[in-house]
């Protein structure tokens, strides 16, 4: 029982995930593009003896179990539930695979056509080998027009905007796009994805293979839709 006597309860399910992530992440990737896996957020939940005793107090009748045994059972059962939950969420399963990305030399007007055709607000920019270089979002275009949002644009002088718009229409994507880009590997699980979304304000994340080539696009709304926390005990 030596291993059970610790006072802090941690989501040990994440431990296995971390190890798995370490296996999946080739070293030196950060030099090319920023990946999310190196973020290491501690997720400790402290289950005190008082918490357990209070729970026992609320259950009528004599419980033939010690506090330490309860902690051990809870910890293992909880880790198993977390594992099962996290197993279900893989970036490769949640991403949209049929994405037509942008190239750096594409003119903004052509890029805009791809945004509209795919009904997306951000698209990855890839090189000739399909490796992800950057993201281009609506916000990037607005910034090029000197506005922080569409509504800010409305408040600006209309004539001036029309001129600015014409000026940027034929500029290449490379001049407007955002780097570095935050990507996730295809095998990324719940925690890696959450960390990645936490690290940048975008709503969309490119999913890459081992050679950092684009394989799909993970939308925040798709990811959230897959998170049924109600399945947890």
């Amino acid at each position: 029982m030596a291993g059970y006597s610790r006072r802090r309860l941690t989501f040990s399910g994440y431990g296995g995930l971390q190890a798995m992530k370490d296996d999946l992440e080739p070293k030196g990737r950060a030099a090319v593009s920023q990946t999310a896996a190196d973020a290491n957020v501690s997720t400790d939940v402290e289950l005190s003896d008082d918490d357990i005793l209070e729970a026992m107090r609320r259950i009528p009748g004599y419980l033939d179990i010690t506090t330490a045994d309860f902690r051990a059972v809870y910890e293992l059962a909880h880790a198993q539930a977390i594992d099962r939950f996290l197993e279900r969420l893989r970036a490769a399963d949640l991403m949209r695979a049929d994405i037509q990305p942008l190239s750096p030399d594409l003119q903004l007007i052509d890029a805009a056509r791809r945004f509209v055709a795919q009904d997306l607000k951000s698209l990855p920019v890839v090189d000739a080998d399909g490796r992800v270089l950057a993201m281009l979002t609506e916000t990037d275009v607005l910034r090029a027009l000197g506005a922080r949002s569409l509504l800010a644009l409305l408040l600006q002088d209309v004539d001036r905007e029309a001129t600015a718009l014409k000026r940027i229409l034929h500029r290449p994507v490379a001049e407007l796009m955002t780097t570095p880009v935050v990507t996730v590997p295809e095998a990324a699980g719940f925690r890696t994805i959450v960390d990645a979304f936490r690290r940048h304000s975008g709503r969309t994340m490119p999913v890459v293979d081992g050679q950092l080539r684009l394989t799909g696009l993970l939308l925040r709304k798709d990811f959230l839709a897959a998170c049924h926390l109600g399945d947890l005990p």
Binding site: M1, Y4, S5, D49, L53, M56, R57, P60, G61, Y62, L63, D64, T66, T67, A68
Partner: protein, 182 residues
């Protein structure tokens, strides 16, 4: 293992003991045990006499603690209650019949083997140890009854306690029995 580590285990893992049960629980434990022990004592006086009766009632008193005092306990479930007494009695009788020339050895092996077999059959029930022992240390009358001892009183008595537990433990809203049958 280091000596300090070994000694530190003796300090325990938790400050304070589990909470006390409510007064209603105390009353229902009392009612169940009074009825259960009353029934089983009345019944056993027809089969057992003298020290055999006293010894067997001791074992059943321990069962009553589990059955009416801790009905949620895995040790108090029907499988454990009846299985534990029955298997232990069989072991006790066997140990007496094979080893009665060395009573101390028969006693030691009766209890230890009963524990092992209750573990293996998932019927662990502490009073079973007493029942196994009674088959060895009981009177000539117990010894003479042979494996019949495993039926009466060893299997019949817990069945009586079980019936009372089913009737009484399911009356209050906050109690239910059993958690599982088999």
């Amino acid at each position: 293992m280091s000596i300090p580590r070994y000694l530190s285990k003796m300090r325990g893992t938790t400050r304070g003991s589990p909470p006390r049960v409510s007064n209603a629980e105390v009353i229902w434990s009392w009612v169940g045990a009074a009825l259960g022990m009353g029934a089983v004592a009345w019944l056993n006086q027809h089969f057992l006499t003298g020290s055999d009766f006293s010894l067997m009632m001791g074992s059943l008193g321990a069962s009553a603690v589990l059955l009416y005092g801790a009905p949620r306990s895995p040790l108090a479930q029907p499988r454990n209650l009846v299985g534990g007494h029955l298997i232990s009695a069989l072991i006790g009788v066997t140990c007496w019949q094979w080893l009665h020339q060395d009573p101390w050895l028969a006693q030691a092996l009766a209890v230890s083997t009963a524990i092992a077999l209750m573990h293996l059959t998932k019927t662990l029930h502490p009073p079973g140890g007493a029942t196994a022992l009674i088959a060895v240390i009981g009177s000539e009358q117990v010894h003479a009854s042979g494996y019949f001892f495993a039926l009466i009183p060893a299997a019949l008595s817990p069945l009586i306690l079980l019936v009372v537990a089913l009737l009484v433990n399911n009356i209050p809203n906050t109690r239910r029995y059993p958690e599982f049958w088999f």
